[in-house]
Amino acid sequence: MDTTSKLAGGRASARPPRRRNTVKYRQTVTAYTFLLVPLLFFLLVRFIPTFMALRLSLFDWNILREQQPFVGLENYTTLVADEKFLQSLKNTALYTVIGVPLQIILGLGLALMLGRVRAFRGFYRALYFAPYVTPIVAAAWVWQWVFSPQFGPVNTVLDWLHLPPQSFLTSPDQALATTAGLVVWQNLGFQVVLFLAGLAAIPRSYYEAAEIDGATGSQAFWRITLPLLNPTIVFSVVTGTIAYLQLFTQVVNLNFTDQGGPLGSTLTVAVYIYQLAFGRFQMGYASAVTVVLFVIILIITLLQLRFLTRRYDT
């Protein structure tokens, strides 16, 4: 006993010798050692800056000033009356409410149809997945031309149909919907792949049993497919919502000279944070907005996990 413990290493010799000899113990140590590296990374790159932002939000912190006075909650009280912030909050909510259901419904619909396709299955999947792997910036620039009121094919088609041409991204009333359209189009492929995997996991025997009992197609969908897809749907809703709440790249690139415009109609909270912090160097105020966004995302995610997750007996 004693000799083996010495062989195992002097540093651990103070501990009771029994545990460290087991294979399980060694595996655990190895696992923690490997986990330590990403943990350190997350601590340094994610968590510490998060807490620093919390602290920063209590200061009138402008990186281009020598004095960074402590102002307590002043940034937060300013925030409540900041029209641009409220507008960005409203826009962000709109993006989420339009985008998340739309991409889930379309994604599920496409996945169901693709499930029935026999020929060229891989080809169709690749086709729907392509937008997801297209660089966001490139897609945003093409989108600008597609929806250009003057030269865009969309208005040309409307013209053929004798419908009035639209202003799309250049109109404060339509810009948000057009932007949301781009995001949905890009995320759709990922949703399709998720749902295809979810559908494949449902045992065929359930459908066969339902068929024998005389269930219609729609009954099978509502009673079998949808309930058993619940984990996939919850995952899509939660990750989709978080992604929409952090929407940034598309917005910035769809109107590069007036980011979040026209008239702030496409401005998201994330873009507003960026503008405050890196356009105007108001780090303290931008941190306050960040903290608010963090709290909102946290609450929404917890609520979603609480209310959307259902257990079905299988």
Partner: protein, 412 residues
Amino acid sequence: MKKFLTLALALTVSASAAPVTLTYWQYDFATKVSTMDALIKKFEAQNPDIKIKQETFPYDAYNQKVASSVPAGQGPDVVNLFYGWLPQYVDSGFLQPLPAKDFSTQQIESNFVPMIKTSKIGGQYYALPTSVRTLAVFYNKDLFKQARIVPPRTWEDFIAAGQKIVKGAPPRFSVLGFGIQPDGQDYHVVREVLVRQFGGSPFSKDGKKVTYDSAAGVQAMTFYTELMTKYKLGVPNFFPGNNSYRDAFIAGKVGMIVDGSFAVGAIQKGAKFNWGVLPLPVLKSNGVRGNFGSYWVNGITKNAKGDKLAASIKFLKFLTSDETQRTWLDSVGEIPASRKLSGTAALRTNPVYGPFVSGLPFASSTLFVDEAGQRKAWVDAINTVLLQGNSPANAVKRAAAEEQKILDGYYK
């Protein structure tokens, strides 16, 4: 021991003779970078004990890059900055005031064009330009010929010309009379040019109060927005992209745009038709001329101390010298910042640079304290009229309230 001493001595001697290395920052623009490389070579030949290391960053990230170097206490010894950013960089203690014995205020003000007075902060100069830029009208000569019209001198003729050239109706145009673009150079035209032409002034003398919330301000806003709403000369964002109005002009789809002398290069390179440059128009009623001037300056940062400071002063003198200004004009195509050089007959009669140079004596520059914020205040105000049918009077009020809030925040 003796050997050691000689070695130590040799080392100190060589150390003191070792060249001082300065770091210079500017944004990445091909001709500016290559011209600066050539200038640095020349400077180093004249000053063998000084070495300059040029570092450049993409334009869109440049201000960010400089700003983030300030709290870090790192970065350049000599830095190129937009004049509108100066108050913030002076506040942060990033820039050193120019030493009076090398750059006297009186000398600066008699040598440089008047607009640089905007950069006098607390009675001190912190940085100086090599070149300056003003605005003018670029026009498509071929489109003018087709419409059988002559280049306009007044705003009234400008509208008439635009109406003859424009093809299509909102929101679908195929050719614009005027490439209207509030977030291009246009908002400067409203704030600094039209407000003055209608008899007002945009800011109080000390720059702390906005004064365009006046009859003149409303007239200026009305005049500008009617170019689109009433006369239907064009729409903003005609072409998608960063430089919508300029790209559309280069594509031959726009009769006239207002742009800066910094656009000459891009238009010269891209436009495949005959084009010309006109001074900014005047109102028929009073003929008051106006222009918006802007410039990039070179300043010495707090990083330069001792030997480095002395070397930086030498380098800054070199960058603002007549010779460098001439090189800059020839290679980059920017107007010299010196009164004497920009006033030469060759420049004044130059068909491309003439109209820009002619604007120098009455070019004003906005005293920005938060360039991004003040720009947004105006662009949004104009857009409420163009896109939402807001009244020009309310739009001016909105811009004034927003911009005053920013000024108050800075001067508090």
